[in-house]
Symmetry: C2
């Protein structure tokens, strides 16, 4: 996830926050005594990546097909050994297919086939997670985020034989090779195409139950691959883009990890890293980078992600019983609750207008989503989850005001946002009805089970209900269906949405997926979307946590 | 110099020779006993390159100017420190000027100016020896040799701060920097642009006499820079292109070196390398490469260059008295004379038609040049020079047939090629009159001094006389003027031709220069020409060897 140019307000806010932080007094830093220790623990828990050498499995050509995802499909043409055996001059534009999504380092060997190399060779490599990245011209670039995310690299080979590794880490299934320059006086071949694939995953996850349907098994498999690819030295949001640790993605990845790869050290590392890089006022920064030194995207303060840190930490401690990490980071979790205290009005309603002016309030990539109901729900949910964490750690005394605050917000939400006539929750001055609003009112427990079922069922008949914009929000929608006991609907939602990607040939789940608009992009250029995106791996969690719903 | 696509015959010949060599029997290799020792001596004499860190001296912009070389000139705009201090986003397209031609490795530092870098940056660097390389679009590429020679490299910077060195060795004075991709959410600057310049030159050459004219001093200075830039771990033909050791370039470079930098070990290294990499039948290969292992361009057999090896070796031994190298390599020199024996007819005329079918006979980049007179002259010259070498080494007995053969060829040349009526030498069935033909008839001593002067003076009035195509042939023309005692004319030729490049702003002398066609290119695209080319450094030799002509 990156900021969206379509929301210039955000950019302005960032600058404001940056300025605020710069002028803050260091002495006020509530974690001053802990930071070094947290960063040290983050480093200690840095995983040793598994490295596997992968070879392409086939050569393919890309064909237009209106039925294929984004209009392009890859069709097998030739064996890789046949490609290697022939002059590359006659094969410019060839596409190698690794048969699976890989993250890591690409290398190739180039050697003379006839004559003495008397000039350098120039080859353009384009790496694609999906076929469209190899077919849609990148330039002139129309996207709103950096053109440099697109994975095309031109290499000048000045001598041969040579084995060359492209320095940049890449994420792809396909690689297109185009000859941009060569001497007419010798001939050469490309061979030994390799991908040194890396991941923090070391173990295979448990098998699914024998009654699992093929579609659910496929969704699980692709979700696992998505998660595996995003698990590097942190939980990345996407190995192609943006390649860093965001709290929201961490939350969903760590949930899925608990029920699959169980690399709990990675989860721990991420918590410590985020804590160690939090802002001087004690608030978490939404995303952090590992290199060249660990650092946060200063000023990028995302309200919902601060809250989700607490929720993720609670789930982690509950599942692992690692109370030490919980206790170490308790000061951080406790501090995030100040956000709730600050914006909760006397009437028990969160001042979402003020919060929206002072924070980036995200929830979904969806223009026009009113965030009042989401924020109210998430705040209640966070208060309750954090209190549950406090109880596990024996720290209830430090947050003794929280249960009452949660109740107050819950009551106010029910009073102000629940429309008894329609059985739906509304949001904002225009009383917007959204999937996100219902989900968060349900997850927070504002709705009774009956009301929850009623609201979720009623949604279908509301013509202009604001639907989820990205898989991330779909997670909360599915979680709400399960919470409401709508098991069949939950399974159908997963089968329809993630299964839709499967049917369109997904090897990994996509950052953005609108079944009715395959070219949708928050960045105004769909090839720059991430097609292996952490927040889309969440079916792994649902399928494995709720076998009675998904594995029968 | 590379092969020219315009001469498809050559390509065919190469293949023929390659096949011939492949089928030759190893046991016939006349140098089998020596090769390893020669290659070892080449390695022992490999120079330790001088490395100097260079910084740009100014920022420039490129302006159209019909009066400037190739229509473009560089105009100072800003200081380098000013460029460093500002956001690169506002300066895309900036051009840094190092103020001199450099060969080596380019690096730059990139660092954040505002905000946290949240996406990679993509920058295209274009390196130019002359302004036109930064202004003429390279694509779609129309040249006949590899597009990869052109020096544009696109770099993806995935984290910052970072100092990045472009892996490829470059040769340039100017570097253009274009921003191809960046995030809108942070700002950054480029700083510490550096060029690690390398050369095998370690000492300053002797000063010129005080009476030297400013123009001659300039020609000498630019010639010295050209030579210095081409002196790397071998005498390269051009540091931008083709970056390898050709015998013809070695000859002119080693002459200039004798009278300037005096790095005689480099000359020695090149002789040994060529000998060690000669063909199994004892003939030299026209050009060799150093990496990844020393190897020759198998099949590239260039008749005149085999002969010039002998001439260069003789000049080297005469100047340095290094008889050991002469004796070591004598078997090679002796062997090259077989070419003369093979193609010399009973009538004393070289069978240039047959030789032209079996060899690449070069002499000049000049379409339509008839090579009979050139070949006849060079053969005689080589026979005499090699015999002179034999005498220095006490090896006359081994080539006792040579003086008579030289005389026979000389007499036949005079009889068949000298037109007493016009006082000019002719060449081929069409009796072509060329500068090259006159030059070689004079250098070989076929013409008396009076005849030589007559021929050279008569040339001016021959409307369709074939003029030199490249600076390389100009060398032989000037040498012939000096040989004939036409001192003023020799100086004027240097002043007009090389002085013409000076007046057009040359920092180094060009591979190709036609005063009437600045866009001339043997490769159908002038930006791929080399603008720092060994064979054009030859005025250094003339100016310094003949102070009585050039330094008064």
């Amino acid at each position: 996830m990156v900021l969206n140019l379509h929301t210039p307000k955000i950019a302005l806010l960032l600058l404001t926050f940056t300025a605020l932080i710069s002028s803050s007094v260091k002495a006020q830093d509530p974690y001053q005594a802990y930071r070094q220790d947290w960063l040290k623990k983050a480093e200690e828990n840095k995983p040793r990546l598994t490295e596997i050498e992968k070879q392409p499995v086939s050569m393919v050509k890309l064909e237009k097909d209106p039925a294929a995802f984004q209009g392009w499909k890859a069709v097998n043409t030739d064996s890789v050994s046949s490609f290697y055996s022939k002059s590359f001059k006659t094969q410019s534009g060839a596409v190698a297919d690794f048969g699976e999504h890989l993250t890591g380092y690409f290398s190739f060997t180039i050697k003379s086939l006839k004559g003495t190399p008397d000039a350098p060779v120039r080859i353009k490599f384009t790496f694609g997670e999906v076929p469209s990245e190899l077919t849609v011209p990148f330039d002139p670039y129309k996207g709103t985020i950096s053109r440099a995310w697109l994975q095309d690299e031109t290499v000048t080979v000045t001598e041969m034989p040579a084995t060359i590794t492209i320095p940049r880490r890449l994420a792809c299934r396909f690689v297109k090779m185009e000859l941009l320059g060569a001497s007419p006086y010798f001939d050469f071949q490309i061979a030994d195409i390799q991908f040194k694939a890396t991941t923090a995953v070391a173990f295979k996850p448990p098998l699914l139950g024998p009654a699992t349907s093929p579609l659910i098994a496929d969704i699980d498999r692709v979700g696992l691959t998505t998660l595996k690819e995003c698990m590097q030295t942190v939980y990345e949001d996407g190995p192609k883009r943006d390649r860093r640790l965001w709290i929201g993605d961490l939350y969903l990845e760590s949930l899925a990890n608990l029920y699959s790869y169980q690399n709990n050290n990675l989860t721990k590392r991420c918590f410590y890293l985020l804590a160690g890089l939090s802002a001087d006022d004690g608030m978490l920064i939404s995303n952090v980078f590992e290199t060249p030194e660990p650092h946060a995207q200063v000023g990028n303060r995302l309200l919902d992600y601060c809250f989700l840190f607490n929720v993720a930490l609670k789930e982690y401690v509950a599942a692992t019983d690692d109370k030490q990490t919980g206790l170490d980071l308790w000061p951080v979790a406790k501090k995030q609750l100040d956000i709730a205290r600050k914006y909760a009005g006397k009437d028990g309603m969160m001042d979402y207008v003020k919060a929206g002016k002072e924070w980036w309030v995200f929830f979904d990539w969806k223009d026009g989503l009113d965030k009042q109901a989401c924020l109210q729900g998430l705040t209640i949910y966070t208060l309750n989850q954090t209190y549950a964490l406090a109880k596990m750690l024996g720290k209830e005394d430090e947050v003794s005001d929280v249960p009452a605050l949660a109740r107050k917000l819950k009551n106010a939400a029910y009073k102000n946002l629940y429309d008894k006539t329609s059985g739906l929750f509304v949001s904002g001055t225009n009383k917007q009805i959204s999937y996100g609003g219902q989900a968060w009112m349900i997850l927070s427990g504002v709705a009774s089970k009956t009301e929850a079922q009623g609201a979720l069922k009623a949604l279908a008949s509301v013509k202009d209900a604001v639907r989820p914009g990205a898989p991330y929000m779909y997670h909360y929608y599915v979680a709400a269906l399960i919470e409401s006991g709508l098991k069949t609907e939950a399974k159908e939602a997963v089968e329809n949405y993630w299964g839709g990607m499967i049917k369109k040939g997904a090897d990994t789940f996509w950052e953005v997926y609108d079944p009715n608009d395959e070219l949708k992009s928050p960045y105004n250029f769909y090839p720059v979307n991430s097609y292996c995106h952490a927040w889309s791996c969440t079916p792994v969690y649902f399928i494995r946590k709720y076998p009675e719903i998904f594995q029968r």
